[in-house]
Assembly symmetry: C2
Homo-oligomer: 203 residues x 2
DNA sequence: ACCTGAACACCGTTCAAGT
DNA sequence: ACCTGAACACCGTTCAAGT
């Protein structure tokens, strides 16, 4: 039974969630750059223009995907911290962050890439992103023993985020040539080791 | 005199460098995602297919741009270090790196984005990138007082690169909501302050 | 050697129309 | 309310052909 034949009853009822699911699926298959509304619709056996009844445009569809991505990231970060001593919380959270990126590279690129960079910024996405980041800020606050609102915590969270995002982004975009057998965990360990080396340096 | 009329003498002689120049110009105007071979050619008053005589495809043209970008970055890093005390070299180099990114956001995205991520990797680009990174590694080696080949230096350089790239990438992609008047330098200062806060944390 | 034109297979998006 | 078809303005790329 072909995709086209699957549904001859003209309209679907719940096309919107199906579009999002299919988009997520294809995202990880073809990458964020080649994700196409026409292809998504075709896979669902629906006309490309049907998408425009449910979403204003591609940006809005993509924003929904990214928002879900940030919610998933938040969950990963929170889960990584359960039962972890404060002394190790920062490291554990960082690792969880980077692993998320490595395991969902296309989604990660969508969440932090140029597609959303200058779009209208759907408030669902805005909030989801803020909440994911809040986990990082909260963690830094706890570890430094200072208020989340303090200058120290805010700047340290920014630095931690930059560090983790930087490594994730560099790896996902294939910027360094790694030995074939170099694992995700090995890279993370190397970066954390490097961080502790850098500490000896005046910045 | 229109672009089309500028040259009725059929072939140009030096179209290749003109294509690269025009591409660089349009890159910073329209961004890496919307850079188009057809538009570049049209601006030069030449058919789109003319590009394919000089470059195998869009990737190859883009690789040339990125290679030039890495050479420019290398120069910026090297220049930033002249006459600077070793104690401040790391900070100065980091600042220069981030400023380069902020001042050439489209080029920076091209250099580190998804367009080149899985392309054939032109060796000119490969070398240019390696040489830019070598400046960072050299700087870390000097500051740590260890061999460039050492594990410590290599990992610390990776961490430093991740940190600087992360901040640059987050800002360029508009990931944090900054107050309107927040300057490039202020952001850099904030991140460096944050780095020094993070140092107090176990990683 | 260097460039063009027509053609192919894609895009996102709009808009009137169908159910 | 929900979806389609035709159409528009774009893409990158190939290939035979022109100068």
């Amino acid at each position: 039974m072909s995709n086209k034949a699957k549904r001859m009853n003209y309209h679907v009822g719940n096309l919107e969630p199906q579009l999002i699911d299919q988009a997520k699926k294809m995202l990880e298959e073809v990458g964020p750059d080649k994700l196409s509304i026409r292809a998504i619709a075709e896979q669902l056996g629906v006309s490309a223009t049907a998408v425009y009844y449910h979403f204003a445009n591609k940006d809005e569809l993509i924003s929904h995907l990214a928002a879900d991505g940030f919610m998933a990231l938040e969950k990963v970060l929170v889960d990584s911290q359960v039962g972890v001593d404060v002394r190790h919380k920062m490291q554990v959270t960082s690792k969880a962050y980077m692993l998320f990126a490595f395991e969902h590279p296309a989604m990660y690129q969508l969440m932090f890439g140029s597609q959303l960079a200058h779009s209208e910024m759907n408030s669902k996405l805005f909030i989801a992103r803020k909440q994911a980041y809040a986990v990082v800020e909260q963690c830094v606050a706890e570890v430094l023993g200072q208020d989340v609102q303090s200058k120290e915590v805010r700047s340290a969270a920014l630095a931690a985020w930059s560090f983790a995002h930087g490594l994730a982004s560099l790896r996902i975009h294939n910027v360094f040539q790694l030995p074939e057998q170099f694992s995700k965990d090995a890279l993370i360990e190397k970066a954390l080791l490097g961080f502790n080396q850098l500490v000896k340096v005046h910045m």
